[in-house]
Symmetry: C2
Subunit: 277 residues, 2 copies
């Protein structure tokens, strides 16, 4: 690596840190890479830290001592996120999204990588301080949200299948009752997909009574894994609170009302915005 | 926005450009945002451009004139990518990956966001100069690769379903014959998921004879869409070349041989590395 000027170093360190969230980078890594004094690197990091904070990108945490270094923790500032979610709520409130059966078409939003990244950053921010090994979701629509979240947390993704594929090897299957349709369904996870006692963050695109998420939790028991958190992009309010199977979760948006006859939907920001911090 | 020093500006412009690939950003946007002269912004961009080039992140293209600005085009330098794919090939060559039926377990690699991002960057680099509206894949395992590719190309993702879900609205379905299993299967795409005459990049995790990809191409005809390119992460060599349904595609890795009895697999870099540039 050739010696770089401060201006070039700042560009390279910025991209290096952004692409390695939740990773402790020793100052010597930078010092050696740029052939610069540690004191210069510290000054660079102070500049980057200030911009990351003021632009709402997240924190740069400096760990001192022999095993020290710097760590980038992505954060989503509440006010920025609220403005973003209000735009999402307005889009979700379009009457042409109502499908037969009272379902809501959200696939187009899930197809936009930039929306997924913002959603992932919010979940990564909400669960930044939990000890996590893996993000889990069930196919299909939760997958992009799970990956976006996992990339900001720098941990792998595990996908629960609705069938049992030959390309996954031996798997553990369970039956569960989908809360809204009341039908018995199957989900399965490859034995080798998850190590025993893994610490899991469950992410999904949609939750009503929570039957699917309860199913994932039951499946995780078979792996003696523990659920450290649950995040859903959109929740739909359940008229009868007793029907709700999951109580501890983070939602980004909430369908308060769907009137199929009048073609009216009311979507509000989720409980994420009631959380502290 | 408060006035920023060059050092802070460089940090912020770097993150701004990285998060908006393939997007023309007028110099006035930066000049107004930082309350700086356009000449200073041009100097900043020259510094960023040099680092992006030397670090193999991609190009900064400057468009002059009234409608001018700067555009970040992610690129994956061939030599860097080859080193990466050789590591992937070594992982894929582990004998414990062989599943009954001669399938190969690759789900763990697909679960690593950092691997997916590198794979996505390679596809985005290979197809950077095509005119594209959307990345398409079929559920489930191609999804993370499709999103990673789409985020570097800054276009949306469309997911073909293997069933016909109520939450997608009216859909177009076709039957196709999976090349390897010779079974008739169904795939469907929501009517509203794709606009007519869209320009499509097809991405998938695995291809043998190409039946699934041929199915996607047939489905696209129903939307009068055109296929601008096909990218597969891993291809498996077909013993009889006449069985191959797809000839124009980009692969990153190639399974040259699976010996189920001897538990030996040979995996080589794909045809991506035979391409120019």
């Amino acid at each position: 690596m050739k010696k770089m000027k401060r201006s070039s170093r700042l560009v390279d360190m910025t991209q290096y840190l952004l692409s390695r969230p939740h990773t402790l980078i020793p100052l010597t890594t930078f010092a050696e890479q740029y052939r610069a004094a540690k004191s210069s690197i510290s000054e660079d990091l102070a500049i980057i830290k200030e911009v990351f904070t003021s632009e709402g990108l997240g924190e740069l945490i400096t760990v001192t001592g022999a095993a020290g270094g710097v760590k980038y923790i992505p954060r989503a500032p509440k006010q920025q996120s609220l403005a973003f979610i209000q735009r999402i709520c307005a889009m979700l409130g379009q009457s042409e999204r109502i499908l037969p059966g009272g379902y809501l078409y959200i696939t187009d939003l899930l197809g936009e990588p930039s929306i997924m990244q913002e959603v992932g950053r919010m979940f990564a921010s909400a669960f930044a301080d939990r000890e996590l090994d893996v993000v889990m979701t069930v196919e299909t629509k939760g997958i992009p949200i799970a990956y976006a979240t996992a990339s900001y947390l720098n941990i792998p993704v595990v996908i629960v299948r609705r069938d049992n594929k030959v390309t996954e090897g031996s798997a553990v299957s369970i039956n569960y009752v989908s809360g809204s349709s009341k039908r018995i369904q199957t989900m399965s996870l490859a034995r080798r997909a998850l190590s025993e006692e893994a610490k899991v963050l469950i992410i999904d695109d949609f939750m009503k009574a929570g039957g699917t998420i309860q199913g994932m939790m039951d499946l995780l028991k078979e792996f003696r894994a523990t659920v450290q958190g649950v995040g859903v992009f959109v929740e739909s309010e359940v008229p009868n609170k007793e029907e709700q199977l999951i109580s501890d979760y983070v939602s980004l948006a909430k369908i308060a009302k769907i009137d199929q006859k009048e073609k009216r939907i009311e979507v509000l920001p989720g409980n994420y915005f009631e959380m502290e911090g």
